[in-house]
């Protein structure tokens, strides 16, 4: 911790007034003025003592905020402990210090300083700061400062705490139209597979011989009577829709074949946003989504469902380092029966990436897939047939 003092404008004005009153008390021996002058002097000393006694015994730490998402408020909490046994702490402001050695604050909006009105003696209070990340990726916070000018605002006191912390910012996600997403599943993706769970729950699928581990309640007793071995009823639950998203990042940013004036890095980010948005929409609709990043050494993510898996997917997308070298090695295409394959390209559609029924999307497709206001009110989404051909390329 490092301690700093800073003189406020109010403090300078106060000093000037004090000197003037002192001058008046000296020139004109008015005892009430002398007392007022003494009071003004005393307040300076008391201000320094009270704030010092409380602030310089304070300890603070930043609580790991987990992860944020581009465009959404990220609440960073600071646990502030007043070390003084008697003096409470008032009017404490905690703010991140920009320009640290490892932090990159261009990724974020200007942080809102956390403010806490009161921390009792030997108590811990949490202060909340809200910041809005502007870019996806790793967010590094280095130092933060706790400052106060309580009780009289004459002198600002500041404690700088060094606590490096790294957190991930997930890519921006945009709500997509569910009907448009349904269109992506035209080529299959559900109904031809059974679930992995066995038991008496689900639809009737057929009969088979008893195997070790089958529940005794699944035995079809009447059919078993005529057979020599026990027969059990095979049941199956309908499989959720499954989608495999492949993000095509094989080409480095500088090698992208884009028209003049278009920022390649922005297009790549848009592609990541599209992938994240599709994944979020599908998973929230109950589907399973897998992720494969072509051109990167990021391991593939198996298709699963659930919010935790969504977090995993977004974390994977957030961890993509676009400055890292790309590889154009042969990409393994997922099997057709594993679900619909959606390939998100950055610059141009490459039909060789994926089988025939794969859907190919470009970052611009997000405008088509996007849920507009009417759609949000439950109206019909615009058809996307016109914009997608069989290979999914944008018309």
């Amino acid at each position: 911790m490092r301690y700093r003092y800073q003189v406020n404008l109010a403090g300078v004005l106060y000093l000037v007034i004090t000197l003037l009153v002192g001058l008046a008390a000296t020139i004109r021996p008015n005892n009430i003025l002398v007392w007022v002058f003494g009071l003004l002097l005393a307040l300076i000393a008391i201000s320094g003592y009270v704030s010092g006694a409380a602030l310089f015994r304070m300890s603070a730490r930043r609580v790991d905020p987990g992860h944020g998402r581009v465009g959404r408020p990220l609440t960073v909490r600071y646990a502030v402990r007043s070390g003084s046994r008697r003096v409470p702490l008032f009017d404490l402001s905690v703010s991140e210090i920009e320009g640290g050695s490892s932090s990159d604050w261009s990724r974020f909006s200007r942080p809102d300083p956390a403010w806490v009105m009161h921390v009792g003696p030997n108590e811990v209070t949490h202060a909340e700061s809200v910041l809005v990340p502007n870019r996806r990726g790793r967010m590094r916070m280095d130092r933060f400062a706790a400052s106060t000018s309580f009780p009289f605002g004459l002198l600002g006191k500041r404690v700088i705490v060094s606590q490096p912390l790294e957190t991930l910012v997930h890519p921006r996600t945009i709500p997509l139209s569910t009907e448009a997403i349904d269109r992506l599943f035209t080529g299959g993706g559900d109904g031809d597979r059974s679930g992995r769970s066995a038991g008496s729950v689900g639809e009737y699928a057929g009969l088979r011989e008893y195997r070790s581990g089958d529940s005794i309640r699944s035995i079809a007793w009447k059919r078993s009577h005529s057979a020599t071995v026990p027969i059990v009823i095979q049941r199956a639950t309908p499989s959720p829709r499954r989608m495999q998203i492949m993000l095509d990042l094989r080409r480095a940013t500088g090698e992208l074949r884009l028209p003049e004036g278009i920022d390649g890095r922005a297009r790549e980010e848009d592609a990541i946003t599209l992938a994240a948005s599709i994944a979020e929409t599908v998973i929230l609709a109950g589907g399973e989504v897998g992720l494969q990043v072509a051109g990167s050494d990021i391991p593939d993510v198996r298709a699963q469902s659930g919010r935790r898996h969504l977090d995993r997917l977004l974390t994977t997308l957030a961890g993509i380092e676009l400055d890292a070298p790309r590889s154009s090695d042969q990409v393994s295409i997922p099997a057709l029966r594993s679900g619909v394959l959606v390939v998100v390209h950055v610059d141009r559609v490459d039909p060789s990436l994926g089988h025939d029924s794969a859907v190919h999307l470009m970052p611009a497709s997000i405008e088509t897939l996007r849920m507009d206001r009417d759609d949000r009110r439950g109206e019909t989404a615009p058809a996307i047939d016109e914009t997608l051909d069989t290979t999914g390329a944008v018309a």
């Binding site: 008015n30 465009g71 909340e128």
Partner: protein
């Protein structure tokens, strides 16, 4: 409920206190009342459920109008002494106006600042007890208000920041802690800050460099005794009903009686006009007067009278008993002519036989409810006066050669020509009786003239303009003809002296209020008076009061009210306020310092004596002889060292407990090296945060300071074993651990410069 819940109300209280203080100081109760009502009403008009605030532009226009109006008033009557009063009034008006605006915390700070300006400006004009109480209350409220304003500023800033955040999903609102704990802790802190500030302010008040003999002279005027007559100030004299002392007047048989005329009690005698300083002073140039000054000592008994001159109190002497109530002065107030004095304290009085002035030798100490008695001859004969005065007789003719201001004699001659032209003829110097008779007649004529309808009595001289190039007495006689008793007395004395009649101005009190129940006169500050004594014999002087007694009695009667019955309560505090606060000057400061030094010295001497006696007694008890003192010294040193050691150990153990939390005493004793470990981290520039474990900190440290981490790691392991593993350290291990910790401190210090 949170500390800011009543913030707007606290601000209104602040403004109301400032308005009250200003109104009391400047006696502008109408303005104060109207503004205070407006300030209170602002709570409903602008902050109530259907409140509407004044638009900023309208407030600005009104503020500019008020400022312009104030400027016009100042330019119409550009008196420097009124400037701060105008500024204070402007501040009051603006502060009240601001309450009707929509305000931020910054605007509230401006309101507080305006209130402070108003009170500081008012402090230049008043020293009353009530004003002092209001100043103290205002100071306490200001401290609380500033603290609240800091909270409000922080809250507003945080809320504004939060509101400016643009995000795709809702931003959580700012939360303010509620409950009793924040409110109570804030109040306690505010009270402690206030008390500490008051205490420190009082210390500064006592040690602040002072002007000797200031006694609040530069403050606003109010009625009261002063041993001088200073003319030329055109201001209003405030009426003060404070009880100064009581006088019991007893006849020779000891029966209290009420005097048929107002009782004139002489305090100071002034016989020379200083036209430069425009004041009457005692003529110090007459050496004979100084030589004849006598000192008289009383023995502390109120019944034992000490003679002032050679005359023993005759049986016909009256007794005057004065009991001081609130005046701290060195003057003894006596009726003409005092013969002997007694006091309830042992004191030394100085008696001036030429003017019959009696003063206490200890400056400003005669007061504080002390009592003195005088034997007085209201109508002494020549021999009795000679016995009192003693010494050589003055010449049997007037000594005055005239008055030093041109124009006064012409006016005196005009008056005499108009009323008694025969007195313009000089008397035969060889016939003293004719001379003294002429003096008496001249004084009578002038007194009648000044009591005539052409002259008016007033205490408000603000309408009177005294030119700097004109003498105030001449101006009073020729132009204004308006003034208070000092002007009347000065004019009579000047007229008499201009006609070569010996005359002098006397200041003191006139007792007119007689309490029939207690059989004594009650003398108040408003009874302070000035009159004239004219020499009407070789050694006799006669009183002439140009101020009409009807006017005095009328003024006294007009000020009586039922509240005067309870006034003594206020007077007690008022006395303390005036004697301890207002009259605190360089003299009192020096006296206080001497007393403090004396007390400290006495205490130190007593302590030293006690130590010496105790050592003697112990030495005698053990029969150690002269070497015993050496042994006692050794024991004393051992005790001191033991106390310091115990103190250090306890303090260190408390620090360990603070760091590692509650633990058995054994752990606290054995894990002492952990403090050195933490100190080494801090010294190296890598203090361990409280949320991080020691082991994790050492791991982080390995990247930046591997040497320090390498040396610290075994100690951290040892600490874990003691703290959590239940390991017990032998004394050898403990010493080794402490030694390692000290070495760690050296490593941290040595490599500090190399750390990037």
């Amino acid at each position: 409920m949170n500390p800011l819940a009543r913030y707007p109300r606290q601000l209104r209280v602040e403004v109301c206190l400032a308005l009250a203080a200003y109104s009391v100081a400047l006696q502008t109760f109408e303005l104060g009342f109207i503004l205070a009502v407006a300030a209170i009403a602002s709570g409903y008009m602008s902050e109530g459920p259907r409140g509407r605030t004044l638009p900023r532009w309208a407030a600005t226009v009104v503020a500019l109008g008020i400022a312009g109006w104030t400027l016009v008033i100042f330019l119409n009557n550009p008196l420097p002494e009124e400037t701060m009063a105008l500024i204070g009034r402007l501040a009051c008006l603006l502060a009240t106006l601001r309450l009707f605006e929509r305000r931020t915390a910054k605007d509230d700070r401006q309101v507080v600042m305006l209130c402070v300006v108003a009170v500081v400006a008012a402090a230049l004009y008043s020293f009353q007890l009530l004003f002092g109480v209001l100043v103290i209350a205002f100071a306490a409220q200001t401290i609380r208000m500033i603290m609240l304003n800091r909270l409000r500023t922080g809250f507003d800033a945080a809320r504004n920041h939060r509101q400016k955040i643009v995000a795709s999903s809702p931003v959580p609102p700012l939360e303010v802690p509620t409950g009793r704990a924040p409110v109570m802790q804030f109040r306690v802190l505010a009270v402690i800050c206030t008390l500490a500030a008051f205490l420190a302010a009082s210390v500064v008040f006592v040690i602040f460099p002072r002007t000797t003999g200031a006694r609040g002279r530069t403050l606003g005027m109010r009625t009261g005794f002063a041993p001088r007559v200073e003319l030329g100030r055109a201001d209003q004299i405030e009426q003060s009903n404070r009880e100064v002392f009581t006088v019991r007047w007893s006849d020779p048989r000891g029966e209290p009686i009420k005097w048929p005329q107002p009782l004139l009690l002489r305090g100071a005698v002034l016989d020379q006009w200083d036209p430069v300083d425009r004041e009457w002073v005692a003529d110090q140039s007459r050496r004979g007067r100084r030589r004849s000054i006598r000192t008289v000592e009383t023995d502390g008994s109120i019944e034992d009278f000490t003679r002032l001159g050679s005359l023993s109190p005759p049986l016909t002497a009256y007794t005057q008993t004065v009991t001081m109530r609130s005046l701290a002065t060195e003057r003894v107030f006596a009726r003409w002519a005092p013969v002997s004095i007694a006091c309830d304290e042992s004191r030394t009085f100085i008696f001036n036989p030429s003017s019959f002035e009696i003063t206490d030798s200890a400056t400003g100490r005669l007061g504080r409810f002390s009592t003195y008695r005088l034997k007085v001859l209201p109508s002494p004969n020549q021999q009795e006066l000679l016995d009192i005065a003693g010494g050589s007789l003055p010449p049997n003719r007037p000594r005055t050669r005239g008055f030093p201001v041109p124009g006064v004699r012409e006016e005196a001659e005009r008056i005499l020509l108009e009323r008694a032209p025969e007195l313009l003829e000089p008397a035969d110097p060889d016939d003293p009786e004719t001379v003294w008779q002429r003096s008496r007649r001249i004084a009578d004529v002038f007194t009648e003239y000044l009591r005539g309808p052409d002259f008016s009595y007033t205490l408000d001289l603000r309408r009177v303009t005294i030119r700097q190039d004109q003498d105030p007495i001449l101006s009073f006689l020729l132009d204004q003809r308006l003034g208070h008793c000092q002007y009347f007395a000065s004019a009579l004395c000047a007229l008499c002296q201009s006609m070569s009649v010996d005359a002098r101005v006397v200041t003191g009190f006139v007792a007119v209020e007689y309490d029939d129940t207690l059989d004594h006169y009650v003398v108040r500050e408003s009874n302070a008076h000035a009159w004239v004594e004219v020499r009407t014999g070789r050694i006799s002087w006669r009183e002439f009061d140009p101020t009409s007694s009807d006017v005095l009695e009328e003024l006294q009667a007009g000020r009586r009210s039922w509240a005067d019955e309870f006034r003594w309560i206020y007077d007690r505090f008022d006395f303390l306020w005036n004697s301890r606060i207002v009259a605190f000057d360089g003299d009192v400061q020096a006296t206080l310092a001497e007393e403090a030094s004396s007390v400290a010295q006495t205490r130190a001497e007593k302590l030293f004596d006690w130590v010496r006696m105790t050592a003697n007694r112990v030495n005698r008890y053990f029969m150690l002889g002269p070497a015993g003192y050496i042994w006692l010294g050794v024991v004393f040193v051992v005790i001191v060292v033991a106390v310091i050691t115990v103190f250090t150990v306890v303090r260190r153990r408390r620090m360990i407990r603070t760091v590692i939390g509650r633990a058995p005493n054994r752990v606290l004793r054995e894990a002492g090296f952990y403090l050195d470990l933490l100190d080494a981290f801090s010294r190296a520039g890598f203090p361990k945060p409280s949320h991080r474990s020691p082991m994790a900190h050492v791991e982080i440290l390995r990247e930046r300071r591997p040497d320090l981490a390498e040396a610290a790691a075994p100690l951290v392991d040892l600490f874990y074993e003691i703290r959590f593993g239940g390991r017990r350290l032998e004394s050898e291990s403990r010493r080794r651990a402490e030694s390692d910790a000290r070495n760690l401190l050296l490593i941290a210090s040595r490599r500090e410069a190399e750390v990037p």
